[in-house]
């Protein structure tokens, strides 16, 4: 494994300056469950790794004044998945974070790191996208905020610019909502997603079906994606026929590839199946 320097800055400004100074050769990290393996296997060769765990606010996991959930960049998967407030208010997120890797890894792995890796198979991302989450970024020009959907640019690519780092995630509260995260793995637990589906629905008297929906799909496109046509169809009709049409629309939104884990054809069909199952379960909970 190639040697590197380890630096643990105390302020956001210092961290940003370090990243800028070593532009391209410095990597921020929190849990290091991914970065260290990538270094060890020679996929990345940073000269400097920047530990974000001493930065202010990165361990926050709290509900802020407007009812949103704020997750600091270094909050671990287990801290989110096992938190009673998250479980009651953002159950879809708890399910997504709780399905990442293994229990031991979830003690180290962070939601922030999961997002910054920008893997299309990141299990926390579909739930966050369904809740309409934003990411808070700090950089040479100070802080900025982006919708999470705009943060992902491609596999391993994010909207972070030189000198920028993710500091926190804000997750809006969606009143009356219910959600489920459905994941297909090869083993019962601990596997990377062959594909996954996050479904969030809530009562909405302004739409014909009486409920509004967000559906996000993982591991079936270069980034986690929404299935807008499926969402639209469900707002029109949640009868079994409507559900089937929406599930097929979700499958049509997927643009998966063949790889050693699964074929594109299987992944697409599983989007259909798991979307329908997810919507059915949510419907049972929100009525409709």
């Amino acid at each position: 494994m190639q040697p590197f320097d380890y630096i643990k800055p105390q302020t956001l400004e210092e961290a940003s300056a370090l990243l800028l100074q070593h532009n391209g050769q410095a990597r921020p990290f929190a849990g290091c469950t991914d970065l260290l393996i990538r270094i060890e296997r020679g996929f990345v060769h940073p000269q400097v790794v920047v530990d974000v765990k001493d930065l202010p606010g990165v361990h926050d996991l709290l509900v802020v004044r407007n009812g949103d959930l704020r997750i600091g960049a270094a909050v671990t998967m287990n801290q989110v998945a096992l938190n009673p407030t998250v479980q009651s208010g953002w159950p879809l997120l708890a399910e997504g974070c709780g399905s990442v890797a293994s229990y031991q890894l979830r003690n180290r792995a962070t939601v922030g790191g999961n997002l910054c890796n920008a893997s299309p198979a990141a299990d926390s991302a579909p739930a966050l996208i369904c809740y309409g989450a934003s990411v808070h970024i700090f950089g040479p020009d100070g802080p900025r905020t982006l919708p999470l959907e705009a943060f992902f640019l491609g596999p391993g690519r994010t909207a972070l610019q030189a000198g920028e780092l993710l500091t926190a995630i804000t997750v809006p509260f969606v009143r009356g909502s219910a959600g489920h995260f459905l994941k297909l793995g090869r083993t019962t637990i601990g596997d990377i997603s062959l594909m996954n589906v996050a479904v969030l629905g809530w009562p909405d008297s302004d739409v014909p079906s009486g409920s509004s929906w967000r559906i996000a799909l993982g591991s079936v496109a270069p980034t986690v994606i929404r299935a807008p046509e499926a969402e639209r169809l469900l707002s029109q009709d949640t009868s079994p026929a409507g559900l089937e049409a929406a599930s097929q629309a979700a499958a049509a939104a997927a643009r998966p590839i063949d790889d050693i884990r699964a074929t594109a054809a299987y992944r697409s069909d599983m989007v259909r199946v798991l979307t329908r199952r997810g919507v059915e379960r949510v419907l049972e909970e929100i009525g409709g």
Binding site: M1, P3, L184, R186, T187, T188, I189, G190, D191, I192, I260, R261, A262, T263, Y266, D269, M270, V273
Partner: protein
């Protein structure tokens, strides 16, 4: 020998070493401390599957400060191998698989060793590769070992000059034409098994050091300390007495640590290290494809059956993907040949089992030694034919399975066996006749069964030996050369010694292996220790006991026939006198006249089968192909998700004839562990190789079953039809436990949803695709 009532054999004692392991105190090779002089070894490996080595330049590596040793194939060109000496320690002029060692480096730190490996320049001239065994066996394939016929080999493998076939085991038995003519139904099909890896918790690790007298010590996580001593000494052309192998506890093996894989390289580096110890440890990625893997298989089965399900003929061809070197794999091919029909009486057989060189990882022993692979084909084939003929799979198996006195495929007369009982009991415990209701809509259930047989696969004459020495306080030390890799060999040794001596098990210590002090054992493989080493221990115990009884008889003036040792005391049935073993087993006993009898008690015992016969090269026939067969069956119930194809194993019943369960709980846990490993290979495991490159050498994409993937319910049934030459009638069970699992699950899947899976593993996607095809 009349079997008298036992008090220790047949009891489920806890494992003798479990406290140390549970508390993390047990020492493994990686835990051993060698001080600041320790050098860290690393291997430079081939990046291409098949190439001539045009040039190796190690000068930059040698020049790196802190690098102490750099060796290449030019320095040590000797070949080695358990059955066929075809494997160099480091590639000499040609590389044959991705991962083959081309150079070795030892340096002051692991980082320096790694850096030095990067600095070694190797120039390859790539050659066309062989990536399929059927192609490899054909005349169109490039020749991977032009010197095949010059390699040293055991007499019972049959190489084919001018081909990639390093062993061709043939069976020609009966009258095939008559067999096909008698059949009401003939069915022919091809099945495939991918390469898998053993994935023991502890990866391969070795430390070697040369002392001032030129004696080499190798600390090795090995199933085969004596075989390692033998093979390494021979390949280096040194005396066996100059090499000492020490094996402490090892963290699992499953066959991966049988024979020699990377240990020779460690010794070669130590020979150049000026007395400093050199450590070589495999990373998990290296473990996946550079030590040993389970060979791949293409199996073509043609079978004839009468309308009532009797098998009339079988024509089976097994193309084994032996990999770059088949030093061990040739004997897997042989085992598959003499077991080629599965556990059935088949009067007419035409079988070919071919070991084929490919540019894939090196095939070696793995739990089952070819049997899980061929049973994947045979046991599915029988099931499909039963269905095609509208017959019950259990009844078809009961009709055809080998019974005592019938001829096996090689003409050996089958010994007493509980196979029929195992099949019937497994079916009964699964409630075979009664379908059960799925857990919900969109789910379907099915039941499947598979039977098996397996003989210890080894040379005709693998020996075991044991010594028992007493301590002053009446406790004793049992020395063995067999390795406890988690299967419980130490505990079985302690139980057999205690039973044989007549002392409490608490008074028995069993040593781990040091070839300078432990008696010889061929290898810890083939599920042979309980049987073979067990016999040696009983003989050693008998000799020690005889020494003690003769001494006491002399002193007491009694007939030795009237004396026995019970619970650590010599007792007289004639006079009801008794004396504890304490003191008398070392100091002897004083006679009434003041003189002395006896002396330190040392018992020794040995065992080697002497009755196995060669088989005819053209027909595979001979009176005694093997020592014995352990037989058994598994029955499983699965539930399938109709939409996703996911398979859940709800219940798995194992029933095996172990002859005699020395420790019933350990037998049952072997059955359970084997079933879970079998399930894991059935549903998940495959080393994905693309043009020889391993695509998934990590647990990210090489998934194995964990506790949550295990069957919801497991039942383990012990059948005991004694083995005539087994200790208290015992046979092995370690490997057998995973042999029928994969086909049993495949049969259950077919029963549930009608999908036939020819190629392991049974992934959700394959089941899904099969169901789509039915629409």
């Amino acid at each position: 020998m009349a079997i008298k009532k036992t008090t220790i054999v047949g009891q489920s004692f806890p494992r003798v070493e479990s406290n140390a392991k549970v508390m993390g105190a047990a020492q493994y090779v990686d835990d051993m401390q060698f001080g600041p002089n320790l050098l860290h070894g690393r291997l430079k490996r081939s990046t291409v599957p098949h190439a001539m080595i045009k040039r190796i330049d190690v000068s930059k590596a040698r020049a790196l400060p802190g690098v102490r040793v750099v060796v290449t194939g030019q320095d040590y060109p000797g070949l080695t191998g358990l059955y066929l000496s075809d494997r160099p320690t480091f590639a000499v002029d040609r590389v044959r698989w991705v991962g083959e060692p081309v150079a070795g480096v030892a340096a002051d730190t692991p980082e320096l060793a790694e850096r030095a490996c990067e600095l070694i320049e190797v120039e390859y001239e790539e050659l066309p590769g062989v990536f399929d065994p059927e192609f490899g066996a054909s005349g169109a394939a490039p020749l991977l070992h032009p010197d095949l016929m010059d390699y040293a080999a055991v007499p019972f493998i049959f190489r084919q000059p001018g081909t990639n076939i390093s062993n061709w085991f043939k069976v020609r038995k009966g009258d095939m034409e008559a067999g096909w003519a008698e059949a009401a139904h003939i069915y022919e099909h091809t099945y495939r098994v991918p390469h898998v890896q053993h994935v023991p918790l502890e990866t391969h690790v070795a430390v070697a050091q040369v002392d001032g007298n030129g004696k080499i010590t190798l600390w090795s996580a090995s199933q085969s300390p004596f075989a390692q001593r033998n093979l390494i000494a021979k390949s280096l052309n040194i005396s066996h007495s100059k090499l000492r192998v020490i094996t402490p506890y090892i963290g699992g093996g499953f066959g991966a640590k049988a024979g020699v894989s990377m240990e020779g390289a460690c010794v070669v580096m130590a020979l150049n290290a000026k007395g400093r110890p050199v450590k070589l440890a495999m990373s998990r990625a290296e473990e996946f494809h550079t030590t040993f893997v389970r060979q791949g298989l293409v199996a073509k089965i043609k079978m004839g059956m009468t309308a009532d399900g009797r098998i009339t003929a079988m024509q089976n061809t097994y193309y084994w993907d032996g990999g770059a070197y088949t030093e061990y794999g040739v004997n897997i091919t042989r085992a598959a040949g003499y077991s080629s029909t599965g556990p059935y009486f088949v009067p007419n057989v035409h079988a070919d089992s071919l070991c084929v060189y490919t540019n894939h990882p090196v095939g070696g022993a793995m739990r089952g030694f070819g049997m899980p692979e061929i049973h994947w084909a045979i046991e599915q084939h029988i099931d499909r034919m039963a269905t095609q003929l509208h017959l019950d799979p259990v009844q078809v198996r009961l009709l055809n399975c080998l019974k005592e006195g019938q001829e096996t495929v090689t003409g050996m007369i089958m010994h007493p066996t509980g196979l029929s009982q195992c099949i019937a009991k497994a079916a009964e415990a699964l409630d075979w006749e009664t379908p059960s209701k799925p857990s919900g809509t969109g789910k379907r259930r099915g039941k499947g069964i598979a039977a098996m047989w397996k003989a210890p696969a080894m040379p005709p004459n693998p020996g075991s030996s044991s010594t028992i020495r007493f301590n002053e306080d009446g406790t004793c030390l049992v020395n063995i050369g067999g390795v406890d890799m988690g299967q419980g060999a130490l505990t079985i040794a302690a139980q057999l010694a205690a039973e044989g001596l007549g002392i409490p098990i608490e008074d028995v210590r069993v040593n781990t292996v040091d070839t300078d002090y432990s008696p010889y054992e061929w290898q810890t493989v083939a599920s042979r220790l309980t049987w073979s080493m067990g016999n040696a221990i009983l003989r050693a115990a008998d000799e020690a006991k005889t020494q003690i009884i003769q001494m006491v008889a002399e002193v007491w003036g009694e007939d030795p026939q009237d004396l026995d040792i019970i619970d650590g005391n010599v007792v007289s049935y004639a006079t009801e006198e008794s004396v504890p073993l304490k003191n008398i087993v070392v100091y002897g006993m004083q006679k009434p006249d003041g003189t002395w009898a006896g002396g330190p008690v040392v018992g020794k015992g040995r065992f080697m089968p002497t009755y196995v016969t060669p088989l005819d090269a053209e027909t595979g026939q001979g009176p005694r192909a093997v020592v014995h067969f352990t037989t058994g069956a598994q029955a499983v119930e699965v539930e399938i998700d109709e939409e996703t194809g996911e398979v859940q194993v709800l219940k798995l019943v194992s029933a095996y004839d172990v002859g005699k369960a020395i420790n019933p709980d350990m037998v049952r846990t072997q059955m359970e562990g084997g079933a879970v490993q079998g399930l894991s290979t059935a549903l998940l495991e495959s080393i994905i190789l693309r043009n020889g490159q391993p695509m998934n050498p990590s647990f990210t994409d090489y998934r194995i079953a964990t506790a949550v993937d295990a069957p919801v319910e497991m039942v383990n049934i012990i059948v005991e039809v004694p083995q005539d030459d087994g200790p208290y009638g015992a046979r092995g069970i370690g490997e057998h436990a995973m042999v029928p699992t994969a086909p049993a699950i495949a049969n259950a899947v077919r029963a549930a949803v009608g999908v036939e899976i020819d190629s392991m593993p049974i992934t959700s996607e394959k089941v899904w695709k099969g169901m789509k095809g039915q629409e």
